[in-house]
């Protein structure tokens, strides 16, 4: 089918258009001449000052860790004491958006962000692809000595340090003492087996409908909880030579336990679409008794503005299995500050990181975060601010890492899909574990 297009003569002719352009041009030229002559029609031209102020763009998350207020305060104090005229502009995003924003920033010739928050799981990827600057020649031996080796090593890949530790994030065991009291327990569980018995009692006595909630939606939090439970059973998801081992031993026991909790109604089924803040909300509302979560929960559970359980909320050790000789099993979520390699202000960026991560700054914010510095962790002030510091230290000492491999994002996506399907009762734990292993092996090949 042929269509006919009929273009009619425009009402504004070319001649009219050119006339208009000519008149406008003449008027503009005339006004410029008048301005240049400085007559009474001209406006005073402001004196142009050359501004040497450097703007540092920093990428951070507004989900956990230090609050926006604390970070803004750190920035203001840095600006005051800095010899270089500098401005700091933060961009706050959800944790899930951090990685992708960093990749986008790395793709540009010049980075959008100079300073980024680097999760330990990205160390290998960012190090291999050169997204961030190695910091080894900037960190002294004295500084290294004062940071727990497990925290510092989390940011080392190929014998280079790619970020400076900022958040000593790891998981702790949070529980409601009043609920336990109602169910006839005077202390939190010491083993996973005891924990299970307490959950059964809490449910059968009608204290709560679901004793436990966790962040089991199909996100990174699910991998963290799986690694943590495997640690509670005394194992890891990968062998020392980097082979996936989810189909046997501690990881398989962990997955079976997660599924059992769902099957028996001991874990809230809504956990499968709940993230860490959501799980914390359920805990501080008093709806559940137990929540294994990151350190940010403590500040919230003791804050009467958001918590209904201020008097009853407690922190404890993440209980290990009976046959696990360790006193606890936790998961590391350490995060560091790093300098983007395509930043134009790498020196100033490092100077800011040095200031923001200093022991003095961390010792002022002990309420919200556990410090990365050993000297601050062991200070009298830390013990005064956080009476649970001993539990924290034990959980930290028994924190296991997620694998640090360059294709971690793909590995994590596979683990998330398989475990999530298992928790939604779409696959048996054994089948999910076998599938995980074969898919991860396929990635490697």
């Amino acid at each position: 089918m042929n269509k006919k297009i009929c273009v009619t003569q425009p009402t504004l002719t070319r001649r009219d258009f050119l006339k208009t352009i000519g008149l406008t041009g003449t008027a503009l030229a005339g006004s410029s001449v008048l301005t240049a002559c400085g007559g009474k029609f001209s406006t005073p031209t402001p004196e142009i000052k050359k501004d040497n102020t450097i703007t540092l763009n920093a990428l951070y998350m507004n989900q956990a860790g230090y609050s926006e207020k604390v970070l803004q305060d750190i920035a203001n104090r840095y600006i005051k004491q800095s010899n270089t005229p500098v401005k700091i502009s933060y961009t706050f995003v959800k944790y899930d958006e951090l990685h992708d924003k960093i990749v986008t920033s790395a793709a540009a010739a010049t980075a959008t962000f100079d300073v980024i928050l680097l999760d330990l799981i990205w160390t290998a990827e960012f190090g291999r692809k050169g997204y961030v600057v190695p910091l080894d020649d900037r960190i002294t031996a004295e500084v290294k000595k004062d940071i727990v080796p497990s925290i510092f090593s989390a940011f080392v890949y190929n014998n280079k340090t790619w970020a400076f530790p900022f958040l000593a994030n790891f998981q702790c065991f949070f529980y409601n003492a009043a609920h336990l009291d109602k169910a006839g327990f005077s202390a939190p569980p010491k083993t996973i087996e005891e924990w299970y018995d307490q959950m059964v009692a809490l449910k059968s006595k009608g204290v709560v409908k679901y004793p436990y909630i966790d962040s089991w939606n199909q996100k990174e939090g699910l991998v963290c909880d799986y690694v943590r439970l495997a640690a509670q059973y005394g194992g890891d998801l990968f062998s020392d030579d980097g082979k996936p081992t989810m189909d046997k031993g501690a990881p398989l026991q962990a997955l079976k336990f997660m599924r059992q909790l769902i099957d028996e109604g001991l874990a809230d089924p809504s956990a499968t679409n709940t993230d860490e803040p959501g799980a914390m909300n359920a805990f501080v509302s008093g709806a559940v008794t137990f929540n294994c979560n990151w350190t940010f929960v403590r500040g919230n559970m003791l804050n009467p503005k958001v918590s209904k359980i201020v008097a009853d909320a407690r922190v404890g050790l993440l209980p290990p299995a009976k046959n696990n000789p360790q006193p606890a099993g936790s998961i590391s979520g350490f995060q560091g500050l790093a300098v983007m390699a395509n930043s134009k202000n790498t020196d100033v960026a490092w100077d800011f990181i040095k200031f923001a991560t200093a022991p003095t700054i961390q010792s002022e914010n002990l309420e919200s975060e556990f410090p990365v510095w050993t000297s601050v962790q062991q200070s009298a002030q830390a013990k005064k601010v956080n009476p649970d510091v001993e539990f924290y230290a034990t959980n930290l000492a028994n924190a296991h890492h997620r694998p640090r491999v360059p294709n971690y994002q793909q590995v994590s996506a596979i683990i998330q899909e398989e475990i999530h399907a298992c928790l939604l009762k779409q696959a048996k734990p054994e089948d999910a574990a076998t599938s995980m292993v074969s898919r991860i092996n396929a990635l490697e090949s």
């Binding site: 297009i5 790395a106 050169g130």
Partner: protein, 332 residues
Amino acid sequence: MLEFLKAHFWHPLTHVEFRINRSDRWFAFFSLTPALLVTILVVFLPLLYALYLSFNKAEVMVVGGRGSVQTEWAGFNNYLYFLKDKSFWQGVRVTLYFTAVSLIIELVLGIIVALVLNQEFYGRGVVRALLILPWAVPTVVNARLWGLIYEPQSYGAMNGLLQSIGLTSPDNAINFLTSVPVFQSVPILGQITSWIGSTSAINWIILSDTWKVIPVVALLVLAGLQTIPIELYEAAEVDGASAWQSFWLITIPMLRPMLLVILVYRTMELFRVFDILYILMAYTVPVVAIRTYQEAFAFGLFGRGSAIAFLIGLFILLIAMVYINLINWEED
């Protein structure tokens, strides 16, 4: 394919009547140049680059303080990877389900709302103005809003509402956004819903998305309704036609061109749905746009990301061809 494109899009100059002279044609071209340049720079060049990436193994690297995308020729491997991947086809099925169900709801409810607004009643102008409000809500805000409504605990807005009218109790809060297929426990039905990806989560999200879009569909249908001559209805009434007959034999045929426009526009939008699903469910609902984002930005595999993006483009082109045929059938 080429024959189809020629038949529908190619109109040789011999069949075009120009009544403007050569110098005016140059003037028209000169006037269009800025817009043309912008289009080339921000649409065609990135498109060509993405096409190039789709045939490469491409990843972001920073070398010598400069970020760039490093490439290595991979031929059709990226395309073959998806065409052989079961989870990609599952994603296509979920996307088609989301698109089809959303379209049906939007069209049916949009027509009903438009028919009501086409009637004379007190305050009609105000209602018409208020109707557009959901459309004005940004998609991200809409997603966050519905996230609060669907909160699975007893303090969630929807759960609170259900409790206040006595349909549920605080101990029985509903988990709306669970990824469990509907009718999972019913033998054959459960397998079908599982195969097409009809989960509780996706169905509730369809509701959230259609809430935002129905107003604009209704307004478009309303615009179509106002072009139908009233004489047709009067003649039908004289002939003794019932209201249903008038609707089915006059309103729907007369609305068909507008409905086709809505179908094309909404299909394109729905097939590449991303925002609301990503905000509420991250990577849990594997529609093709989510998969594209995950491959490119989460995994850093820009070659694969580009390849899947072109596959989506191909699917949309196929759907567009069906619609164009419908339009041509209508014209004939």
